[in-house]
Symmetry: C2
Subunit: 342 residues, 2 copies
């Protein structure tokens, strides 16, 4: 199919009566090439329609200029934003991204790691799925010296950099805010406690409660997958409680929004009877009525930071080599948690 012969540096060399080595150098920015020869080379290359063959180059240099990305799911605003940030940085630095989704499944995550490993990515950016307990499946990469950077859903490892926000603090802030609005019985909706993001927010929630003299009540904490459906189920459980809780802190917006819809339908006034807060500042939060209080996640920045940290390491520009980079988040207070009497 691929039509006829590819133009190689040998063709250019022949046409210009130079050696392939010179062509190779001229096509990069090798210092030891005269300016005018470089120009002749580049011109002839364009004239012949030359295309750099990155496989030959990869094979030779043992470097692919490819970065692997593993995420639980692509289909959230939050994640798309992160990827967009990564893509920009990576492309500017001459890297391609290979993106794969684990769908929150450990099995798929392992398969993805292996695929990326086999395609010899130069480095890996990963955010872990719900099920992952350890990172044995990443060890072969790490042992090979392939840099691995976790973002958002991270794992402590001496060789890996983690890019996160302060989820503990965010959880603390959200909960304190709800308490400040007069809430005393606050439901928390969380997900897999294997993941730092959820465990940390829960810790923040607990500390905020105790710092404000509110007893922790385990029956107010729900752990699920934070889907719409989960919101429906939590809401139905909430409606059976007596007394009713007066606040909800959900670890994502989709689930918070789903709760608001269900509770409103059941005749509960939001925020007067139950105040609600979510997480991630998804566009949804500005559509639901009342608008949802949430935590703004610096997605773009997180993606950029992850990619640039990785690339710095790949290019041996070293720079600062922190084990953990914490980005700033923002609590965005909207109507869903503003009590009129406060």
């Amino acid at each position: 199919m691929r039509a006829h012969k590819e133009i190689t540096i040998y063709d250019i060399a022949e046409a210009l009566n130079l050696s392939p080595a010179t062509i190779s150098r001229g096509l990069k920015d090798h210092p030891a090439i005269r300016k005018d020869t470089r120009k002749r080379i580049v011109e002839k290359a364009r004239e012949l329609g030359y295309q750099h063959n990155s496989f030959a180059s990869s094979l030779r240099r043992n470097k692919t200029n490819t970065i692997g990305v593993i995420v639980p799911r692509l289909n959230s605003y939050f994640m798309s934003t992160i990827i967009a940030g990564m893509e920009r940085v990576a492309n500017n630095a001459g890297y391609n991204l290979i993106i794969s989704q684990s769908m929150e499944s450990l099995k798929k995550e392992i398969a993805n790691v292996n695929t990326l490993f086999n395609s010899r990515v130069d480095g890996l950016l990963a955010s872990l799925g719900y099920e992952t307990e350890d990172i044995a499946h990443f060890e072969s990469l790490i042992n090979k010296g392939i840099p691995l950077i976790f973002f958002d859903r991270v794992f402590e490892h001496p060789k890996c950099t983690n890019i996160i926000i302060d989820n503990y603090k965010a959880g603390y802030e959200v909960t304190s805010h709800l308490i400040g609005q007069g809430c005393k019985r606050i439901v928390h909706i969380s997900a897999s406690q294997k993941r730092n993001v959820y465990a940390d927010r829960l810790r923040g929630y607990k500390h905020a409660l105790s710092d404000h003299g509110i007893a922790y009540d385990e029956s107010l904490v729900f752990v699920n997958n934070l889907s719409d459906q989960a919101g429906v189920e939590v809401s139905s459980a909430i409606l059976k409680m007596d007394p009713l809780p007066d606040g909800i802190f959900s670890s994502n917006d989709a689930c918070a929004v789903s709760c608001i819809r269900e509770l409103k339908q059941a005749g509960i006034k939001i925020p007067q009877e139950i105040a609600v807060a979510g997480f991630n500042d998804d566009p949804l939060s500005k559509v639901i009525e009342p608008n949802l209080t949430s935590v703004r996640y610096p997605g773009e920045e997180m993606g950029e930071m992850a990619a640039s940290t990785l690339i710095r390491r790949l290019d041996r520009l070293e720079g600062v080599n922190l084990n953990t980079i914490v980005l700033k988040h923002n609590l965005i207070i909207r109507e869903s948690s503003k009590r009129t009497d406060s």
Copy 2:
């Protein structure tokens, strides 16, 4: 960095006293290899921690097992769904996806095509940005015989397959539905007429009007980028109209939702005074109040279809080779367009 030597088929060959050629064959499913030797080979490979080197293989076979994907933006539910579909099919068939975003910019789209071309993708899946007028920047690929498939935002080309829904029909249906609800002055919000999806929906809108004896009024059609902000602007223009329109058909949900918010805020009753419909069936449509009438797009299926069509062509399984594949959409009627009196 990459620690020490890689294991190659030569290492396996040596350990087993076989030739590299036999190892190479044994690692695939070459028929001319004895079952037990194949088994020995596979075992030894695992034992030594052998990893297939796809660059050497790509170089030799002139095939990369990589598919390039170009989309305008990744950050919509719709697009994530499409990508998820592609990914599944591609991975199952042993292909990797390289995804890039044009951000609706022609310049970026051209750059992306070139990058993917240079990384020697075996085939390309593309959805065009707003600005693109022709596909000259794809010609070099096409001429090289690299299969190119457009999805959603497509372009007619004898060598390319297009995967779409019937946007004309969808536009016609939405408009007819609004008319059926008693609307007579229907605003249509559209985007770049260079893109089939928008031009076709507009055509559908016009034909529905004329089929129902309603005169087409150019001042009711807005062309913008369908963003939240665009919705704000359109709404403000609408509020200045006299008489007020009684229906809005927006070419995406984000903009429709933005309009609903603005109009509600201005005291307009939705759907009684103005009925609204969107497009894509984004999760947003089930959150806005009233819930938004929209057109369900078979995203997952579109992604799967695009990828499998491409792969079939790559693997010369040929199969049916249609120039256009039309998937089924569904009009989902929700409260935003249901007139109580109908």
